[in-house]
């Protein structure tokens, strides 16, 4: 949580020949809604370019309906993208056709779910998921004893002790926080490179959340695992993430190092979000008193910025042209026609469309 975090990030970016751990280009997901004869489409995710590097925690923040959960499911291959491509270590996912390839990806990129009360099968003891995962993905462990030893190791690594005893319990015998830790242990058992965490702490009590966020940071340091941390809580995103991406109505509207985005938000939506977050230690921030938090319409949206109806800075071009992501500071991009770059930052000649 201290400043040496940023050192790790810069190491990754330095070598341009290594492809990033995970990259999406133009990833789009539309859902048809309204029955067999309707032509309406729900634009859940539109033209999203994300990069995740090794040993990095990237937060994807947004309200419900922003598309963040859909992105998690696209990356976990629960959905297939309508268009665009996902590259894992440089290779496109669409080229992974065999079950073996597919299992390989799944063991490198597992997912942790939001609801601790339904993420573990109530009919089995909690070691069930871990043992199944080890059986499917860890070919290096050949006997049941070896797998059990590994299960104990990962359960211990997420802070649950005594590991052997906990593994024999049923889910109902564990608290919400303990179950989420088991969820992380399940993911850790694969020796993953990137863990997709879909709102892993939203349903936990406040005093327990920090414990789990600390586990994430610890795993990044010790097991060199990256995280995609999906959340609607900006404060927890700031606490644990190296980089933050803000989503609105299916688009990434701002992206950059966590501190930069929060200290100097460029996109009006980010500014609105930050003004609305209650902080007991600070005086009540002056926010937009007229914005009631109405969600955007993502059914058949036309061209133009999707935030224009709520934006205090809207101008004509916002109604006509989708704003591209522009580089406005070091590593800091925003998709807004009126956002200004940092005072001392030279905007490159070409418009950049990826993070």
């Amino acid at each position: 949580m201290s400043d040496d975090v940023s050192d790790d990030v810069s190491d990754d970016v330095s070598d341009p020949s290594t492809p990033p751990l995970l990259e999406t280009r133009g990833m789009t997901k539309h859902f048809k809604i309204g029955g067999n004869f309707s032509r309406k489409t729900l634009h859940a995710v539109d033209d999203v370019n994300i990069i995740i590097n090794r040993q990095e925690i990237v937060a994807l923040a947004g309200e419900s309906g922003s598309g963040k959960s859909t992105i998690a499911r696209l990356l976990a291959r629960i959905y297939k993208p309508t268009s665009g491509e996902i590259y894992y270590q440089g290779k496109p996912l669409s080229s992974m056709r065999t079950r073996r390839d597919s299992l390989g990806y799944r063991s490198d990129v597992p997912m942790v779910f939001q609801d601790p009360f339904s993420s573990l099968n109530p009919a089995y003891r909690v070691n069930h998921g871990i043992m199944r995962g080890l059986k499917l993905h860890r070919r290096d462990l050949t006997s049941r004893e070896q797998r059990f030893a590994e299960a104990e190791r990962v359960v211990d690594a997420v802070g649950l002790t005594p590991a052997a005893e906990i593994l024999q319990r049923y889910p109902y015998e564990l608290s919400g926080g303990q179950r989420q830790r088991i969820g992380f242990a399940q993911a850790l058992a694969y020796k993953p490179k990137l863990i997709l965490a879909d709102e892993p702490v939203s349903m936990l009590d406040v005093s327990i959340r920090i414990g789990l966020l600390n586990v994430m940071a610890k795993l990044r340091q010790e097991a060199h695992v990256s995280f995609l941390y999906i959340t609607h809580d900006i404060a927890s995103a700031r606490y644990v993430a190296d980089r933050i991406m803000i989503m609105y109505a299916g688009h990434v509207v701002e992206s950059g190092p966590a501190e930069a985005v929060l200290a100097d938000p460029k996109h009006p939506y980010t500014q609105l979000l930050l003004s609305a977050v209650p902080d007991p230690r600070a005086p009540l921030a002056v926010g937009s008193e007229t914005d009631k938090g109405e969600p955007p319409k993502v059914i058949d949206p036309g061209p133009g910025c999707r935030f224009r109806a709520r934006c205090p800075f809207v101008v004509d071009v916002c109604h006509q042209v989708d704003p591209p992501l522009r580089l406005l500071g070091p590593g800091h991009t925003a998709a807004c026609h009126v956002a200004k770059p940092d005072a001392d930052f030279l905007v490159p000649a070409q418009e950049v469309s990826s993070t």
Binding site: E63, D205, S207, Y239, A276, P280, R281, G293, P295
Partner: protein, 335 residues
């Protein structure tokens, strides 16, 4: 705000009948609410805040029941009143806003029809009056009255919650009880709703009891703050005091568990362990297994509420006279 409280809760105790015997969910709670006051009740799951709320609103049903204490609203004890007597008070003098509008609103009738039901049930007369009043309260909460014709699922989450609040204000009650009305909303809608509630309070002068698990949410809006833990009041006092100088280690731990978006990035620890099983609460202070400042007496003596400046805290550290100076490490419990 006048000084005579409109609501006086005294020694309230609520028990549940379970297969393992009676479990006490709310233990000996005292609370006063004055006219126009905003009282925040904060706590985590299992602390009893929602049960207490339902007990105050006289909405408990088996297996839960009030087994001790009084809830005096304008001097009348709600606990001993019959359904008939309660119906006279309900909605006119106090009303309730539930946690999830989708669960509380009838999904198959329009908003207008629900308002009409409520108005008719509690005494309004002509259709004209009903229509006028319905439109009036919708405008009060910032919704265009045209939405009266909508069904609940046609409104967004934020609008549904506002409609619930509008319904609660139909008779301009003296007290509105709210059970986590913002927890299903996103942060912008949440803030907007809080500001609206505060404005309405200034306008109409009703008092609010607001239950939430999100302490920071009420930090700028409530006058009085109650922190509950394991069925008991662990700290109570003016909001600002509790936030700036929390007297109870639990309140302090809770405040520290909120990472902030401004200021320096600091490593936090949260509170280890989890809330106790109320069927078998710990001996002595209920927080002792998780307390960073626990000492020997905590495991034996049950603390009372002690006065600490403007607040009261249920902690032996403040039990009159010099607190014992020996401290020991909290026993390591896993979350």
């Amino acid at each position: 705000m006048s000084s005579a409280p409109i609501l006086e809760v005294s020694g309230l105790r609520v028990e549940y009948a379970t297969s393992r015997g009676a479990v006490c969910a709310v233990d000996n709670v005292d609370l006063d609410v004055r006219k126009g006051e905003f009282v925040g009740v904060v706590g985590e799951s299992g602390c009893g805040k929602s049960t207490m709320l339902f007990a105050i609103a006289a909405l408990l049903s088996p297996p839960a029941a009030v087994t001790a204490g009084t809830v005096k609203f304008h001097g009348h004890n709600l606990v001993t009143m019959t359904e008939k007597q309660l119906n006279v008070l309900r909605w006119r003098d106090y009303s309730v806003v539930m946690q999830s509008a989708m669960n509380a609103l009838n999904p198959v009738i329009t908003i207008a029809a629900q308002f009409k039901d409520a108005l008719k049930a509690h005494g309004a007369a002509s259709n004209n009056e009903i229509a006028n009043r319905s439109a009036e309260v919708m405008r009060l909460v910032g919704i265009d009255p045209i939405h009266l014709k909508s069904y609940p699922h046609q409104l967004s989450g934020g609008m549904r919650q506002r409609a619930m609040i509008a319904m609660a204000l139909l008779f301009t009650p003296d007290l509105v009880i709210m059970d986590e009305p913002t927890s299903a909303l996103d942060v912008v809608a949440q803030r907007s709703l809080m500001v609206q509630i505060k404005e309405l309070q200034h306008q109409l002068g009703f008092a609010v009891i607001f239950v939430t698990h999100d302490m920071s949410l009420v930090s700028h809006f409530s006058d009085q703050l109650i922190v509950m833990y394991a069925g008991q009041v662990s700290e109570i006092g003016p909001t600002r005091q509790v936030f700036d100088h929390p007297a109870h280690p639990y309140s302090r731990g809770l405040l520290d568990a909120f990472p902030s978006i401004r200021g320096p990035r600091v490593e936090l620890t949260g509170i280890p362990g989890s809330p106790p099983d109320l069927a078998r609460p710990p001996q002595g202070c209920r927080f002792n297994p998780r307390c960073p400042q626990v000492f020997d007496a905590c495991r034996v003596t049950e603390p009372l509420l002690y006065q600490v400046g403007d607040v009261q805290a249920r902690c032996l550290l403040h039990a009159g006279g010099a607190p014992l100076l020996e401290t020991s490490e909290a026993s390591g419990a896993t979350t």
